[in-house]
């Protein structure tokens, strides 16, 4: 059934259909309507879950960490400073291998205060050991929430579902809400391998030594480093699980099929714009306009940022003449984080396109389609080749 609702409601609807058991959240713009919608679902009885109106984001993630350890499917959502306030908990959730799903309505971070969209909040959290998925429209938000639970519970790694604050969170557009039976067929109940249980008392995430150590049965138990190495290995292995889950989702719901990259007009393209989130959709209009001028350009949206699908990125990008990476975030003092990742993925390719970097839309600065057009034109004409220094779109001073 198609509904016209906000991106936050698209996320909430996914959380409801996933039969989430524990929700803990603290309101923050622009995530708030998602929290409100979930509390409405729970109070009305539409979603038989525990809803904990915690006193902070730090506690929101604490509740999720504990409830997930105790064996319940757990969800939270936040934005910007709320996400950053969770920071130590986010590391903890990943290290503890808890399949928590969290939506982040992307927002710029203070100082100075901003409530508007960019990607600095989640991009700055790329090294947590979480899986990070980015959405371009409401249908993707809704579907990604469902896939995220399945993925998280398959690989025992938490998943962040990121979507643009305001641009997606507060806009209304149509999306399809599937029947509960289909969702149940795709996503069975959560059955953890280990959980808090007095019948099998275990102490989770105790102090772990630098070196390995024998357990009570004479076997060698890992040290901290082995545990962390496994997190990394499993994150890499999650890439193939993402593909698999995307395939299963497609079979049941008839959507998807582009687990990592969403190309538009790329087949015959010489140049391609590369970015995350709703920007990749806005660029489709730019691509259409440039193609009318005879310029062979495409756009590719990246849907999985961590684990970074470097092989897929390399394969998809190495044959182009140029790749233009547009980002709503920056590794301050260096360059766009995505830009660095793309270049790194391309390093081992036999042929390498030029790669340019544009920073755009920080703190909600309006992204004018004409500015994007101008930037791609500039880049394709190689005017942007000034070393690695990113260029900024839409600056007024």
């Amino acid at each position: 059934m198609h509904v016209i609702e906000s991106g936050n409601v698209a996320a909430a609807t996914g959380v409801k259909l996933a039969r989430t058991q524990v929700i803990a959240a603290y309101p923050i713009t622009p995530q708030t309507p998602l929290t409100e919608k979930l509390s409405e679902f729970v109070e009305s009885g539409d979603l038989p879950a525990e809803y904990i109106p915690v006193e902070s984001e730090h506690s929101a993630m604490a509740v999720c960490i504990a409830s997930s350890t105790a064996g319940a499917r757990s969800f939270t959502a936040t934005s910007a400073n709320g996400l950053l306030y969770m920071n130590e908990q986010l590391h903890w959730a990943a290290g503890a291998r808890l399949p928590i799903v969290m939506c982040v309505a992307n927002r710029g971070v203070g100082a100075p205060w901003t409530v508007w969209n960019d990607h600095q909040d989640t991009v700055s959290q790329r090294d947590l050991g979480w899986i990070q998925l980015y959405c371009a429209d409401h249908q993707q938000i809704h579907d990604t929430v469902l896939k995220a639970f399945k993925l998280a519970e398959t690989v025992s790694i938490p998943v962040m579902v990121c979507y643009d604050g305001y641009l997606l969170s507060h806009t209304y557009m149509p999306f399809d809400v599937p029947e509960q039976e289909k969702v149940d067929a795709f996503l069975p109940g959560f059955e953890p391998t280990h959980f808090l249980n007095p019948e099998k008392p275990r102490n989770f995430n105790t102090v772990t030594l630098p070196d390995v150590r024998p357990d009570l049965h004479g076997n060698t138990a890992p040290g901290y480093m082995e545990i962390r190495k496994t997190l990394h290995t499993d994150l890499r292995a999650a890439l193939s699980e993402i593909e698999k889950i995307d395939g299963e989702f497609g079979e049941i719901f008839g959507r998807g099929g582009e687990p990592f990259l969403e190309p538009y007009c790329c087949d015959d393209a010489d140049y391609v714009a590369f970015c995350m989130g709703s920007l990749s959709y806005q660029l489709r209009d730019v691509v259409d306009a440039m193609r009318e001028e005879g310029i062979k350009v495409g756009v590719m949206g990246l849907k999985v940022y961590r684990p970074f699908p470097d092989a897929a990125v390399r394969e998809a990008l190495s044959a182009f003449k140029g790749v233009i990476v547009l980002e709503k975030a920056l590794s301050y003092g260096n360059q766009g984080a995505l830009y660095a990742d793309v270049k790194s993925a391309l390093y081992s390719a036999e042929t390498r396109p030029f790669v340019h970097n544009y920073i755009v839309g920080l703190g909600g600065r309006e992204i004018k389609t004409q500015h994007l057009y101008d930037a791609l034109t500039e880049s394709i004409n190689k005017e942007a080749a000034v070393g690695d220094e990113p260029r900024w779109i839409g600056l007024k001073l």
Binding site: A24, I52, H58, S59, V63, A66, A72, N197, V207, L209
Partner: protein, 299 residues
């Protein structure tokens, strides 16, 4: 509490949920508190523990010293984690279990107070036990909010702490939760009965604040842990009480002292190196505070 049947040494269970051979210091007051509280809680219990001396006592991976499921959590999040455990137990049909947060004074009254206040305000169905050893012991004896005035710590190394002890149980009681109690490592039977009572009052937030002598942090011989804990109570410095649905009453040794003479507080101070720089003026001030507090207690 006086009208209820009290546990005696002979009636106290000999089942041990805490294993020996753990890493707590010799003579650790927490050992008594933890061991006794777990007896009262029994095996149908899930623990949430932040980093603290208890983390060390509980054991290093892959060996645990406790026969209970436990989730270790970040420093500031203990009460929220207990909340999460309870939510999951409700969601998975295992609501009969006790959910117990067990934290030190720093994890409770300082860095952890936001989450604890939130949980109390929401009336979460959890038991929160704070073992108060009056400084950050696990990191090597730095001052905490509950360090008493005048105490030498590694962050108050010369003058001693300038401020008075934060009254954490009163702060918690101000939330209007069903049960707030204080206890002492030196009176394990009183502690046991309070934990039992807390466990029986399922449904809301229950808080127990336990005075817990620390030989290395307070500077006294390990054999004196119980003796000093008792002095803390008999001097009237640390009172044993409960507040049941808003009704305050002294219990145990403190109840017995009403209208009777108390040990001069200086006797307590003399037993511990941490009070060695206490001036006569501060001693007088502390004795005065105790006296005026006790003037309000009636039998």
């Amino acid at each position: 509490m006086d009208n209820e049947k009290k546990t005696t040494i002979l009636s106290l269970t000999d089942e041990e949920i805490m294993n020996p051979g753990n890493r707590a210091c010799s003579g650790c007051g927490l050992g008594i508190v933890y061991r006794t509280a777990l007896k009262a809680l029994g095996k149908d219990t899930v623990l949430a523990v932040p980093p603290s001396c208890l983390t060390v006592l509980q054991g290093l991976y892959p060996v645990a010293s406790t026969k209970l499921p436990c989730v270790n959590v970040t420093f500031a999040s203990t009460a929220a984690a207990a909340t999460g455990v309870r939510a999951a137990l409700r969601a998975t049909g295992r609501d009969h279990l006790n959910v117990v947060a067990f934290a030190g004074d720093g994890g409770t009254g300082d860095i952890g107070i936001q989450a604890l206040s939130g949980a109390c305000e929401r009336g979460e169905d959890i038991i929160y036990i704070c073992y108060d050893n009056e400084a950050y012991m696990n990191t090597g004896v730095q001052r905490s909010g509950t360090t008493p005035k005048g105490v030498m710590t590694t962050t108050t190394p010369i003058k001693g702490k300038l401020q008075h002890k934060k009254d954490v149980p009163s702060i918690i009681a101000a939330h209007g939760i069903d049960y707030v109690a204080t206890a002492s490592a030196a009176y394990p039977l009183d502690l046991y009965d309070k934990v039992k009572k807390a466990a029986s009052m399922k449904g809301g937030t229950r808080y127990i604040h336990v005075h817990t002598p620390c030989p290395s942090g307070w500077g006294f011989p390990t054999r004196n842990t119980v003796k000093i804990g008792k002095l803390g109570v008999t001097t009237g410095l640390f009172d044993l009480y409960e507040i049941v649905k808003g009704e305050f009453s002294l219990t145990g040794e403190s109840a017995k002292r009403v209208g009777k003479e108390r040990t001069p507080v200086t006797e307590y101070f003399q037993t511990q190196r941490r009070f060695s720089s206490l001036s006569d003026a501060v001693i007088e001030e502390m004795q005065g505070m105790i006296d005026s507090k006790w003037a309000n207690y009636t039998a």
